[in-house]
Symmetry: C2
Subunit: 334 residues, 2 copies
Amino acid sequence: MVTIKDIAREVGVSPSTVSRALSDSPLISQATKEQVHAVAKRLGYERNELARALVKGTSEAIGLVVPDITNPFFADIARGVGEVAHAFGYGVILCNTAESLERGLNYIRLLRRKRVDGLIITNATRNDPVAKQLAGSKTPFILVSRLWEGIETSYVIGDDHYGARQAVEHLISLGHKRIGFIGGPAAVQSSNDRMQTYREVLQEHGLTPQEEWIRYADFTQRAGREAGRRMLSLTVRPTAIFAANDVTALGVLEAAEDLGISVPDDLSIVGYDDISYASLPRIQLTTVAQPAFEMGKIATDWLISTIVGRHQRLLHRVLKPHLVVRCTTSKPST
Amino acid sequence: MVTIKDIAREVGVSPSTVSRALSDSPLISQATKEQVHAVAKRLGYERNELARALVKGTSEAIGLVVPDITNPFFADIARGVGEVAHAFGYGVILCNTAESLERGLNYIRLLRRKRVDGLIITNATRNDPVAKQLAGSKTPFILVSRLWEGIETSYVIGDDHYGARQAVEHLISLGHKRIGFIGGPAAVQSSNDRMQTYREVLQEHGLTPQEEWIRYADFTQRAGREAGRRMLSLTVRPTAIFAANDVTALGVLEAAEDLGISVPDDLSIVGYDDISYASLPRIQLTTVAQPAFEMGKIATDWLISTIVGRHQRLLHRVLKPHLVVRCTTSKPST
DNA sequence: TTGTAGGCGTTATCAA
DNA sequence: TTGATAACGCCTACAA
């Protein structure tokens, strides 16, 4: 690899002059700048960002931790993050935890060892051991979509209570009385909030769900399918299911198919997120839409502003989701 | 941030001793090791990988460039890459080019400046200016799914000719004579190979497609939908369409819906990749399956072996895809 | 406008 | 078994 020393030797100046010339310092004459750039190009010089980061104390990289990159919701967040990160010249180190708490821990440690300038965390869970550790550190970070509890942080989330309310009230207004819920891991705040609101809304309407109508999956299609299959095999089964995310909802759709239950005639399904596959003609999933791409962008924008020191306030952004009624919900059959 | 010097001072030894103790050198006494580790833990020491990389000449990070992270095919590759990379203690820097050649170029430059130890490239295109540059460098890299032409590299790809043949012969065996093709960007090798084979197979069966039955989209759902809409609005329209990837195929499915054309009765559709959404009950897309996750794993495995110098041979891996017949294909209506 | 020198946090070499 | 010392490649006062 060619270094500034090589260029310096070639041009006949000192390494510092080369360094300054390459970073376009006003102290350097036009003539030398041109020479330096020419030689740099000829030699194929690429600045060593590692060395630069070491001395400048900033790596121009941010870490992004996601629980499942194959979930389009997180893929979209990742896209948003990449978009603005790269616009500011920052790199993005992506870590996929597969919903494993342990991996999440390891990745965050790895990212901090790599001295990323900031972190975007989308896999926050309750009692996350990393929470306090990170909160007590200097590394700026921001939570997206999922929250820790009892810890002051910046975040960009959707209003899960509001969204869940839209979903459940929609089902109730259609006339459903037996409404089930399939959530994500119990330690995930957003899933819990949706569940809690689900319970509340039912109660407000004088409805009490059986305990078997409430299940926890892990936000994957497979788990959604299994949970759905179990729930739909009950002797008294729900006429509608609210799934805590679209991927799970699609799993439930599969389960219904498996059991020969027709949607929406015999079962209504509402998802959450509005991933692009939810709107496919054959799917037409009724769901609660969240602006994933936007969330990634907002978070990254804030993070980088914080890194470069333009501000240091916390950011609390709660986006209102909205219900998109499509074709997986209808009146219950009588 | 706490450094080895801080630990050294605290313990009362030299920095080099601390360094050795932390990397578990056999030269250090058990007693000091324990002391050092204790203090390191107490102080919350995290090794600075930047500094380490600088002196060791290896960053323990690999770069991954994908054309579209929201395409589950690439998300799955990314998952595979992450899986084995992290198993070996490597970080993954993800770059999403959104099918832009210019971005691809910038990202690869960025990654090289960050001194990644190797690259996994899934966005290769014909006449990629980065190709020769990279081929002439010391950084090991491997292409996945998409190839450059005329350049000796390592790669893990699917057999596109074989896959496309399965798809088109399937349609022909069903009795289709008017078969269309919707590909990705013309500069993408895999898309081209599928197209070429599509032409060949038709020819072998004495069929000649009209030129309007061949369209290039950009591997997105939206473009697939538009191209599909145009093709299906022709006065003489194909009775079957082979799309160069599933995302495009889903777009075509939408287009058919838009125009009130029923699938598979009035139009058969075959996709490529077998992303998880292709097998949804309501979708049941007939498609050519590729093991994306596996491809990511194989490539990364090879890359890291090369990095650590276990070998330096090129890897040429061509995986045979297989046709999965589902419900979007049937005999043409008469 | 340019050069010198010191340092960023590690690791590696050579002595002790 | 441990300690100096010199790198790694770059940036930045401070001097010239």
